[in-house]
């Protein structure tokens, strides 16, 4: 067999190792999920790959396992302490879930007329923060980073015992009630107990043994 062919065969063989499965995909074939290979994008600028940032749709066929469902509507208070997964991080005020980080306008509309509104314009620019009070609940918004006219929800404060969290804890309850309902906090100091999830947190500020204020807030 002419040795010359080896040169070509070797070249081609080194490349063809991935050839075994054909492109046409059967259901479970993960032929396209070349995660590592793809993300370590070849620097071949011809495909200008390194210019296309990693925002490319992940071409993996398996759908990710569903995120732990964020139960936004109120649950019946359970006895067993809720693990972080099932704590409601979006406070519900007369039927409307206030999801921090989301656009404020639609939520504020549903909440209806606020008792008082405090506007805090920024030092020099057009955007402002707003404080809406609904009885014992105070909702705080902030101007979107890139679009000044768009306001986003930043925080919900429960300032008196008239409002309770979805898990049934309210201002004035004791620290032990809190631990009974919420379990061990993610972060804790004598002044506050904080339960945190990705990008959000609910904080219980303590005055000695009892809760003096409850704050749902964004975590940057």
């Amino acid at each position: 067999m002419n040795r010359k062919a080896i040169l070509a065969a070797v070249l081609a063989a080194a490349m063809l190792t991935g050839m075994t499965g054909c492109g046409g995909n059967t259901g479970s074939s993960t032929a396209d999920s070349s995660a590592a290979g793809d993300s370590a994008a070849s620097e071949a600028a011809d495909s200008a790959q390194n210019e296309l940032p990693e925002v490319m749709p992940d071409d993996d066929f398996e759908t990710d396992s569903a995120e732990p469902a964020e139960s936004s509507d109120s649950e019946a208070p359970q006895d067993t302490p809720a693990d972080a997964g099932s704590i409601a991080f979006d406070y519900v005020l007369n039927g409307t879930a206030i999801v921090v980080g989301e656009e404020a306008a639609p939520v504020l509309e549903k909440l209806g007329e606020a008792e008082s509104v405090f506007e805090a314009p920024s030092c020099a620019f057009t955007g402002s923060s707003y404080y809406y009070t609904y009885g014992g609940v105070q909702v705080v918004t902030y101007p979107d980073e890139h679009d000044q006219s768009l306001n986003r929800l930043y925080e919900v404060d429960l300032n008196d015992s008239s409002a309770a969290t979805n898990e049934g804890i309210k201002v004035g309850d004791s620290y032990d009630d809190l631990i009974a309902k919420y379990g061990t906090p993610t972060q804790e100091t004598p002044a506050y107990a904080s339960y945190q999830t990705e990008g959000k947190a609910v904080r219980f500020f303590l005055n000695g043994d009892s809760i003096k204020q409850i704050v749902y807030t964004i975590v940057m």
């Binding site: 008082s116 314009p121 020099a124 925080e155 404060d157 100091t189 904080r203 204020q213």
Partner: protein, 355 residues
């Protein structure tokens, strides 16, 4: 090609490119004359006589809450404010350092609110606080300390690298003020004559950590040392702005620090001070309690002038001809501005006079 011909050609090309770019840079640099005026505050100082006994350094709680004209009229004290929007503490320090190149005030007043910002905040405010400065080691220090990670030092040295794409947003202002901005301020004071009574200030939302960052303490210490070296009296104040909240935990830290280093610390939010200064949040603020208007600023300046005069033998320099000339001009513009704003208020309902 003879060697020198090449050099001449090379030089000619670089010079022409440089000249065109410099002219273009001036065109696209923001003029801060219409919507956001605070951008010219820093540069404004250099057009003054630079002879002041009292110097305010700080953010909008300085340049909107004290009227230097009142200090001059009531006490003959020549004062200036070197402040800019959300001026951070190291920016105040470097501005003080820069000012000491030109003059030696007797008293420096620093508003402590900016202690709450421990690291660089955002590019837009940095630009307004730094670009007005004349080139000096202070400006370089200021840039290095304030740059957020998306900024490049080069774009401060050549602002055209930053503003080059503003050709699509040019307005008449860019041409009108091409050769320089009109004086808009009164020795660093930003005047507002409209009134908007204070709203019910919402409850302060508690923080998880009240401690100021080490950077802030470090720069406060350097500011104190700089004043000591030039035997200048440093006075710490907290202006009477109802928002952003000034937490008691913060106040305690500043009070302890002041006691430790024997520095005077005046918190205008305390009831006794509010009473003494006579500040009334129904009439003395133009944005619902965040900043004082001209009436509040005059009250505050009047009280504070007395406070400073008793303690730090500030002379009445109102008879010095040079100062007199400079301040007469400032006072004239000051009164004219109040009148103009009041006329606009009646006609348009806002001070800017826009329909």
């Amino acid at each position: 090609m003879a060697k020198n011909k090449v050099l001449i050609a090379g030089l000619a090309m670089t010079l022409t490119a440089g000249a065109v770019l410099a002219a273009y840079q001036r065109l696209v640099q923001p003029k801060y004359m219409s919507d956001v005026v605070e951008g010219n505050l820093i540069a404004d100082y250099y057009s003054s006589g630079m002879d002041h006994d009292v110097l305010f350094v700080g953010d909008c709680e300085c340049y909107e809450n004290f009227s230097p004209v009142t200090l001059w009229r009531n006490y003959g004290i020549s004062s200036a404010i070197r402040g800019s929007a959300q001026q951070l503490i190291w920016q105040s320090y470097y501005l003080l350092e820069d000012t000491l190149r030109y003059e030696k005030p007797k008293v420096v007043v620093f508003n402590v609110l900016s202690m709450k910002y421990g690291e660089p905040q955002n590019e837009a405010y940095n630009r307004m606080s730094i670009e007005g400065m004349r080139w000096s080691s202070s400006k370089i220090g200021n840039i290095r300390a304030s740059m957020t990670d998306e900024e490049s030092a080069l774009s401060y040295v050549f602002p055209v690298l930053r503003y080059h794409s503003r050709w699509s947003e040019l307005t008449s202002d860019d041409l009108k003020y091409y050769f320089g901005a009109e004086p808009n301020f009164f020795s660093g004071y930003y005047l507002r004559a409209d009134v908007k009574p204070a709203q019910k200030v919402p409850n302060p939302t508690p923080l998880t950590d009240y401690a100021f960052s080490d950077t802030c303490w470090d720069y406060l210490g350097r500011m104190m040392q700089l004043c000591a070296e030039n035997n200048i009296q440093l006075v710490l104040i907290k202006a009477p702005s109802l928002y952003p909240f000034w937490y008691d935990e913060w106040d305690r830290q500043i009070t302890d620090y002041a006691e430790k280093y024997h520095l005077p610390y005046v918190n205008f939010l305390n009831d006794d001070k509010l009473e003494a200064t006579g500040i009334d949040f129904e009439t003395d603020t133009y944005d619902g309690g965040l900043h004082l208007n001209v009436y509040g600023a005059e009250k505050l300046a009047d009280w504070f002038g007395g406070y400073l005069k008793d303690r730090y033998d500030l002379q009445d320099r109102s008879q010095e001809p040079v100062l007199q000339a400079e301040w007469n001009d400032i006072c004239a513009r000051y009164d004219a501005e109040i009148e103009r704003q009041l006329k606009n208020l009646e006609q348009y309902g806002n001070v800017k006079g826009e329909a």
